[in-house]
């Protein structure tokens, strides 16, 4: 097996007077999609910030493609729960933010941004400002922005949590399509069991106070997964198992 795309070893973190994460260890292989399920306030966002190099580690080690994380890096792309688009920039410019907008971008980056917008069905909206976009469109722009520099590791913090149920499911399928075109290591934080099972190769379940791993299960469902997948017995059995575990953890 090749070296992991992401490797966590005994990761811990505390805010003053409050331990958020303790002794977290897991690996993500190249091209592997891992969903992290956990109760809210359980430290999932903190975990992603640590991996992204946005917060200094408290304890343990985080390696991305074999090298320790010391700060944000270009081979890691991130999306957030809120779309976090700059309201004063067009959709295209927002996608090009990692390259320094249109002015700073190379022709290749520009072409890639346009292709990404086309891939998520927003080719005609390239010159729209965020105020002109719906929540789902804005979040898709966020996905395109994450993919601009073709990162090897994707970090996604409940990216669809703020959307309505229909849009949310559609977004999961858009993400699956983007990911299947070029599978890469991904950590996808969610509190939706359905979403986790629709997207992930593996589900990691975190418990609360301090955040720690209580389960790390494979999701042996064939791809591409579709709304029909959610009606299969395998899907429902796994969902039920996760639900039981989740209730235990929360109790």
């Amino acid at each position: 097996m090749s070296s992991p795309a992401l490797s966590l070893d005994g990761v811990g973190f505390s805010f003053p007077g409050r331990q958020v994460l303790a002794g977290l260890s897991f690996n993500v292989a190249p091209g592997e999609f891992v969903a992290v399920l956990g109760p809210s306030g359980g430290g999932k966002s903190t975990l992603l910030r640590l991996i992204a190099g946005l917060l200094p580690l408290g304890a343990g080690r985080v390696l991305v493609r074999g090298t320790p994380v010391t700060g944000p890096r270009q081979d890691v792309g991130m999306v957030f729960q809120k779309a976090t688009l700059l309201p004063w920039r067009t959709a295209l410019d927002n996608v090009l933010l990692p390259a320094g907008f249109r002015r700073g971008a190379s022709p290749a980056e520009r072409t890639r941004a346009e292709n990404l917008l086309a891939a998520i069905g927003l080719a005609d909206s390239a010159n729209y400002y965020p105020a002109q976009l719906s929540g789902g469109m804005a979040q898709r722009v966020g996905l395109a922005r994450m993919l601009l520099h073709d990162p090897d590791l994707l970090l996604m913090d409940e990216p669809f949590a703020a959307l309505d149920a229909m849009t949310r499911e559609r977004m999961a399928l858009v993400l699956q399509k983007l990911w299947q075109e070029r599978p890469r290591a991904a950590v996808f934080v969610t509190h939706s069991i359905q979403e986790a099972l629709l997207l992930a190769d593996r589900v990691v379940v975190l418990a609360h106070s301090p955040g720690r791993i209580v389960a790390d299960w494979p999701v042996p469902l064939p791809r591409p997964r579709a709304p029909e997948t959610m009606a299969t017995p395998e899907f429902n059995e796994l969902a039920l198992k996760l639900r039981r575990l989740f209730d235990e953890v929360a109790a």
Partner: protein
Amino acid sequence: MKAAFARFAPPLVTLVLILGAWALATGPAGLPSYLLPGPWPVALSLWNGLIGTGSFWPHIGFTLTSTLLGYVGGSIAAIIVGVAAAESRLFERFVYPYVVAVQAAPKVALAPLILVWFGFGLASKVVLVALICFFPLLVNTISGIRGTDPELIEMARSFSRSRGFVFLHVKLPAAAPAIFAGLQIGIVLALIGAVVGEFVASDRGVGYLIGSATVNMSVTTMFAGVIVLAGFGMAGSALVQRIQRRVVFWDNAERHIVTPQETA
């Protein structure tokens, strides 16, 4: 045409009513003209000062010069200091509490002192105007930059963007609406500052014109002066608002943009 009529007709009606009431109050049965002159003499005085003899123009020129120089200078200084302050922890800890305290003090009270320091000419008025517009804009600039959505800053950081980039492309645009609010307050305060400076000591300016009319008990000229000032205040305010609409276009974008249909 119809829309313009609908927009301007109601305030025009109000204006006619006010002028009518004013004419009545100063008519034969009303107040004596040395207390409240009628609309007609005031209009005549305006006509004379602006067009007939043109005697108002040197005063207007003086007041506008000190207002504009002070406003531009004070605003540039406020934005520069505000940016430095918002980006510096030391400034926040050591100086900011005093900025807030000084902001609450009425700067016009310093007018006599500034006149002693900078003389009775243009310089003292410019300094007073600059000082008066400085603080509201400073406070707005600082709070605007500080108020930037931390999630936007974190997003930009996650894409390896430099501190300079984050400032220029995230914090400064995020602060722009607050900065323009400060500029809007400033343009009105600037005119007040210039006039107060002229009240205290000057041999020119619209404030001087009003002040010397008081000595002559020429209430008509005082009214004409106040109307001229009101005109410039409104024009300045409208100009800043126009610039604001163009620069901070996204702040009210939702209102004039039709949201396109979501494409699946």
